[in-house]
């Protein structure tokens, strides 16, 4: 089972964790990403490519199913305006055994960073700037190829 949601609404962690339960799952791994207050960031705006974003996330989830013996994958990404402390991304993977759940969860967040069409704009004080891609993220995604 694959659940993908790209949403302006806050991510309800309790509901998402409960929804990640799958019959026969011996382990559920999850990753939650939050907006950091780096260097006085007061607001983060997430832009995305409607249609392609959802397709890219579903494609990653399907790829995870081919690489690991999974029962369920959940990917939720928030878009629009957020403030530090808000949850921006949630990923959960359910499998019979922990290794498959943990590895596939790490795979999905690494891939999401480089292969899904999202863009972050940070506001600090009066100024806003688009966040630049980090080479470390490309390296992290590369290790799964």
């Amino acid at each position: 089972m694959i659940r993908v949601s790209v949403q302006p609404a806050p991510i309800d962690l309790a509901t998402e964790i409960a929804g990640a339960e799958a019959k026969g799952a011996g382990g559920i791994a999850s990753f939650t990403g939050s907006v950091r207050a780096d260097d006085g960031v007061t607001e983060l705006v997430l832009e995305h490519y409607p249609g392609m974003t959802e397709a890219a996330l579903i494609g990653m989830a399907e790829e995870a199913f081919t690489r690991w013996n999974l029962l369920a994958v959940t990917i939720v990404h928030r878009v629009g305006a957020m403030v530090p402390g808000d949850h921006i991304v949630f990923i959960a993977t359910a499998a019979a055994h922990r290794r498959e759940a943990l590895e596939s969860c790490a795979y999905l967040i690494d891939r999401l960073k480089t292969d899904a069409p999202f863009w972050k704009r940070e506001t600090r004080g009066e100024g806003a700037r688009w966040v630049e891609a980090r080479a470390a993220d490309a390296d992290a995604a590369e290790r799964w190829t």
């Binding site: 832009e47 995305h48 249609g51 921006i88 960073k113 069409p117 972050k120 704009r121 630049e132």
Partner: protein
Amino acid sequence: MDLLYFAWVREQIGTGQEAVDPPGAVVTVADLIDWLAKRSPGHAEAFRDPAKLRAAIDQRFVPLDAELGDAKEVAIFPPVTGG
């Protein structure tokens, strides 16, 4: 052909989408970027350094040397920064 722009590419051009009919000499995404750069000062600014641009054809990531073929929707944007 429908064009979509995101993030600072969209801001510098001043619109998130437009429809264009490029000439036959425009074969690849890189050709399209060169051709679009002449449309306005905003396009010229956004497309000044193609090394900073990424693209998708019909909602699939492609390298800039990809051929447009019979693309219906081409998106041009900076490297992605989600998660």
